[in-house]
Every structure is written in structure tokens, then in C-alpha cells.
């Protein structure tokens, strides 16, 4: 019974959810016109901070994750302030460079990070949650689940709630004075400023929010995986995250969600041609950009869906 609660599927589901957080961490700065490739670096900061705090100081995971995300956010503010003078590709490369510098520090600060081997034995969220519910006298077998099924299920549900809360936050923020400021800066920075918008504040705000989200995702990643190493936060990761957002459609948040889901699943679906899957991935990106450079989902497409729903398939 309940065999459909398959740890393998739940694990993939959890990765998808973490990837959605990462995609949103690129989406938010992009919504104020800033292309950041620093997500992998901020993710690493979050992951290492939380892992080290929980391993070395027995901090509860919850606090570790919060600390990791906050530190990434603070770094985002520190980096965001001077980076504001940079636009477009300059900012992209500077943030990419920042990510590389962070990664190299992880590799070389061996006394703290154990170098390229990475950290093992990071406390896992699932076990912690299991212990917690057991504290209330609950056993997974009471609802007919095996322990590991239950653990993966809990992790998935927790991540799902976090993703939901994040999307709720971003969408609410978007439909408000803050969100309007972001998009006006994205569309015309000078005009936005002459409308009384403090562009410095809002640009740093969106950049730091992105950094915070990436740090949060990184910290969660550490406690879901149980081990981390610098190569988890490399250039490849930065590019992967960017592609989630751009592939899905960078104009709308649902694009990031879709991109993360689709592109996390795709390598799994392409397992039968696993040797060629990255080759196919590369070709797919080229074709997509040629055919639909704004990404799969955009405002017009969504508008059409809404229109169809409203008029029940009639006119649009």
C-alpha cells in the first residue's frame, strides 16, 4: 500500500523544488533589470554557512538555514551596492566572477571547508523531522509508510511549502508599489528615477532578495543532500540556474517555475539516451533562442490562456 510514495520520485521532486527557488533567485533581480550570474556563489554561501554551523555548533537546522540565507542576503547587499554602476553583460560577468572567487575560497580554505573534498555528515532535514514527529509519539508505520518513504515525503512537503511561500511573496510584491518600481527600473532606469524612485535602493533590494533566495536554496540543498563540495557551486551551476529562468521565460515568474521543472526532469526523461543528453540540451537551447528568445512562457501566452478560460474557449 502507498507504494506510489516512491523515494526516488520524491527525491527528484525535492530537487525540482530547490531548483525552482534558484530560478526565482535569478528572476527577482532580473525583474529590476539586473542579470546576475552569482546565484551559484550565493547558493554556496548559504550551503556552507548552514552546514558548518549545524556541524560544528550543533545549531538547529532551522536556524542554520536562516543564517545561511541571511548571510547570502547580506553579501548580496555588500556586493550589490558597488555593482549598481554596472549594467547588462558587465554585471553578469562580475557576478559570475564573484561566484568563481567564492568557489575558489571554498576549495582553498581547507581548515574550515575541507577543500575540494567538501563537507560530509551535514545533518539531514528528513531525519530531524522524523525525530521531531517521533517526539510526539508518532510512527510512520501508523499510516502504513516505511521510515524512508516518510522521510522523503516530509522533506518534499516542507520544500513545497517553502516554494509556495516564496512564490506567494514574490507575486504579492510584484503587484505592489515595490514591484512596479522594479519593473519601471527594468524598462527605463532614468525615467524611473525622475518619477521619484530611489533606484539605488530598489536595485540593491532586488539583488539582495535574489542572493537571499539563492542562499536559502543552497542551505536547503546542503541539508537535503547531506554532503556538499565546491563543485556543487561552480560555473556550470550558475549557468544551469540562469537557463531555468531564461528557458521558461524570464518575463513571468511562472516561467522560472516551468523552466526549473522541465529542465530538471528532462535529463531524467532522457536517460535512455543519457550519453547524448547534454548534447541534446545544447542543441535545444540554440533552437529555443532562435525560435522563442523570450523563453517558453511570456505575458502574451499567459494572457491567451486566461482569455480562453474567461470566455470558455470562445473569442479572445
Amino acid at each position: 500500500m502507498l507504494d506510489f510514495i516512491n523515494p526516488y520520485y520524491l527525491q527528484i521532486g525535492s530537487f525540482i523544488l530547490i531548483n525552482i527557488l534558484l530560478a526565482v533567485s535569478v528572476y527577482v533581480p532580473l525583474s529590476s533589470g539586473q542579470l546576475s550570474l552569482g546565484s551559484a556563489g550565493f547558493m554556496g554561501i548559504g550551503a556552507y554557512t548552514s552546514a558548518l554551523l549545524t556541524i560544528n555548533f550543533d545549531l538547529p537546522i532551522f536556524l542554520g538555514v536562516l543564517a545561511g540565507a541571511c548571510l547570502a542576503g547580506i553579501l548580496g547587499i555588500i556586493v550589490g551596492l558597488p555593482s549598481l554602476r554596472l549594467t547588462g553583460v558587465y554585471l553578469a560577468i562580475a557576478t559570475l566572477g564573484l561566484g568563481e572567487v567564492i568557489r575558489v575560497i571554498f576549495v582553498n580554505w581547507e581548515s574550515l571547508t575541507r577543500g575540494s573534498i567538501g563537507l560530509t555528515g551535514v545533518p539531514q532535514i528528513g531525519r530531524e523531522l522524523l525525530n521531531l514527529v517521533r517526539g510526539f509519539g508518532f510512527e510512520p508505520s501508523m499510516i502504513g509508510l516505511k521510515n524512508n518513504q516518510f522521510v522523503f515525503l516530509l522533506v518534499f512537503i516542507l520544500l513545497f511549502l517553502i516554494v509556495l511561500a516564496t512564490i506567494w511573496f514574490v507575486v504579492r510584491q510584484q503587484n505592489s508599489r515595490v514591484g512596479r518600481s522594479f519593473s519601471s527600473i527594468q524598462m527605463d532606469e532614468k525615467a524611473a528615477e525622475s518619477m521619484g524612485i530611489n533606484i539605488m535602493y530598489f536595485k540593491v533590494l532586488s539583488f539582495a532578495q535574489g542572493a537571499f533566495l539563492a542562499g536559502l536554496a543552497g542551505a536547503l540543498f546542503a541539508h537535503v543532500m547531506g554532503y556538499i563540495s565546491p563543485s556543487d557551486f561552480s560555473y556550470h551551476r550558475a549557468v544551469e540556474i540562469l537557463i531555468f529562468t531564461v528557458f521558461g521565460g524570464s518575463e513571468v515568474i511562472i516561467g522560472s517555475v516551468f523552466g526549473a521543472i522541465f529542465l530538471t526532469l528532462m535529463p531524467e526523461l532522457l536517460r535512455f539516451v543519457s550519453e547524448y543528453r547534454y548534447i541534446i540540451y545544447g542543441i535545444m537551447l540554440v533552437i529555443l533562442m532562435a525560435v522563442r528568445p523570450q523563453g517558453i512562457l511570456d505575458i502574451h501566452l499567459l494572457g491567451r490562456f486566461k482569455g480562453i478560460k474567461r470566455s470558455k474557449g470562445g473569442m479572445r
Binding site: R85, V89, Y90, E100, V101, F247, S250
Partner: protein, 293 residues
């Protein structure tokens, strides 16, 4: 030995400069960053390994083969990934970035598939030959690399400033619309630019293979990222900046390895660009290709 390190640094730096020139030409004319440049360069290196190692061709023929292959790649890149995006409505500056990243993923994994993951040695008949000048040991390879880089840089500068095609390229870099009004066939110039940049990548690939005596599918990324850092350092689209930036990076890396912590070698490039972006965002040499030459 200070002098030896200086020679090592200049050798490394001149290779970096050639890689950076490939980036800078494309950026100068098209205003985009060709993320696939590193991988084109890697393919060039593999062509060198295959022709000299497996087929036993002489080095000059390997260069020729590499230039031919990377030029074709450059042409395909322009025709199939860059041109479809040009002048299309609603294309943001993200699109060519992603598109060329797609090509880089494709090429890296294709090479991985064909040549395997490991390092391939790059043997030249004079790899071990060195000459002693006083107490300084100089390898012939270093002299060859340096000479080829210098010839390439001088050749490019002359070509840009003296020939008709070179002038057309500069005009296009300055302003695409104006150039096309003045009768420059900008489509042809753009294609030519991407091909030249790629061919330079091919040459750089062989030079790196010779310098490090190893070639791998991942080298495109490692060197490509440094090339990116250099063009920021020297000023985007600036030919002189790419050369100076390349040398600067090569020297700093060599000296850090010799006298400091070698672990941070790969971070220098980025620490340098983060500093330069904060102090002088337009790079050491202005911002326009046409200005700083």
C-alpha cells in the same frame, strides 16, 4: 628565478591575449559575449592533438587544420545561432548569451563523447629542448608561442588599421547602421569577424596545448572564463586592452604561483575584474574598439 618567471608569465599572458582577442572582436562588432569561444578554442586544441599525435602531421600543418576547422565552426555559429537572433523584435541581450552557452554545452559534450574525458598530451618534437642564457632556461616552445602570438597581434592590428576589410570591420564596430549606410556589407563583415575570432581561437588552442602539454574537453571553460575576465579588464571590444589585459593576467598568475598561494591562481582573474569594475568600470582602455588603438 625572477627572469624565468617573467618569461613564463609573458608566454602565458600572450596566449591569454590571443584568447581574449577572439572575445573582443566579436563583442566589438556584435556587442555580444560569445560564450562558445572557449569551446571553439578547445576544439582547435583537439585538432592539433589529433593531427600531430595520431596522424603525425608537422606542426604548421596542424595549425592550418585547426584554423580551417575553427573557421568552419565560427561560420556555423554565426549562421545558425547568431544571425537568427539579429534584428528580431523582442530579443533581449540574454538571448545570444544563452544561445552561445547552448553551443558551448554542445561542443564540450561532443568532444567529451569523441575524445573521452581525460587529458590528452600534446607532443611537439621540440617540447623538451631548451637553451640556457646565463642562468636562465628558456624552452623553444616558449619562444615559438611568444613569436606566434606577437605575429598574430601585429598582423591583426595592421589588418584592422590598413586593409579595406579591416576598416570596414572597425566602422561596423563603431556603428552598425552608419556603416551599412556607408555601403559596408555588414552581414559579410559580421560573418568575417566571427570567423576570424574563431580561427584565432583555434590557433590559441594549439598554443595552449603546447604550453601545458595537455588538452581536455574542460579546458575551453577554464581558459574561456579567463578570456572573459581579460576583456573586462582591458575594456570591452578593445584590441589593445585585450593584449595588455592578457599579459597582466599571465604575469600575475605566474608570480602568484611562484611566490604566493597557487590555490588562488584561478581566482586572480576574477578578483582583478571585480576590482577594476569597481574602480574603472569601462576597463583600463576606454570602451570602444575604435578609440583605444
Amino acid at each position: 628565478m625572477l627572469l624565468e618567471q617573467l618569461i613564463n608569465g609573458i608566454t602565458l599572458g600572450s596566449i591569454y591575449a590571443i584568447v581574449a582577442l577572439g572575445f573582443t572582436l566579436v563583442f566589438g562588432v556584435l556587442g555580444i559575449i560569445n560564450m562558445a569561444h572557449g569551446e571553439i578554442f578547445m576544439v582547435g586544441a583537439f585538432v592539433g592533438v589529433m593531427t600531430t599525435g595520431v596522424l603525425g602531421w608537422p606542426l604548421w600543418l596542424a595549425f592550418a587544420a585547426s584554423i580551417v576547422v575553427t573557421s568552419i565552426l565560427g561560420y556555423l555559429l554565426e549562421r545558425m545561432t547568431l544571425r537568427p537572433l539579429r534584428g528580431k523584435k523582442g530579443v533581449s541581450h540574454l538571448a545570444p548569451l544563452i544561445s552561445t552557452i547552448g553551443v558551448s554545452i554542445l561542443l564540450e559534450n561532443l568532444s567529451h563523447h569523441i575524445f573521452g574525458a581525460g587529458n590528452k598530451p600534446f607532443r611537439t618534437e621540440f617540447a623538451e629542448i631548451s637553451i640556457e642564457i646565463g642562468q636562465v632556461t628558456v624552452y623553444i616552445v616558449q619562444i615559438v608561442i611568444f613569436a606566434i602570438s606577437i605575429i598574430l597581434m601585429i598582423g591583426l592590428s595592421i589588418w584592422l588599421s590598413k586593409t579595406k576589410a579591416g576598416k570596414a570591420l572597425r566602422a561596423t564596430a563603431e556603428n552598425l547602421e552608419t556603416a551599412s549606410i556607408l555601403g559596408v556589407d555588414t552581414k559579410k563583415i559580421i560573418t568575417l569577424t566571427v570567423i576570424i575570432a574563431s580561427a584565432m581561437g583555434g590557433i590559441a588552442g594549439i598554443l595552449v596545448g603546447m604550453a601545458f602539454n595537455s588538452v581536455s574537453p574542460q579546458m575551453g571553460l577554464a581558459i574561456g572564463l579567463k578570456g572573459l575576465a581579460i576583456i573586462i579588464l582591458g575594456g570591452m571590444g578593445n584590441v589593445k586592452g585585450a593584449m595588455v589585459g592578457g599579459l597582466l593576467l599571465g604575469l600575475s598568475e605566474t608570480f602568484l604561483v611562484a611566490y604566493g598561494d597557487s590555490g588562488y591562481r584561478d581566482a586572480i582573474a576574477f578578483i582583478m575584474i571585480i576590482l577594476i569594475l569597481l574602480l574603472r568600470p569601462q576597463g583600463i582602455f576606454g570602451s570602444k574598439m575604435a578609440e583605444g588603438r
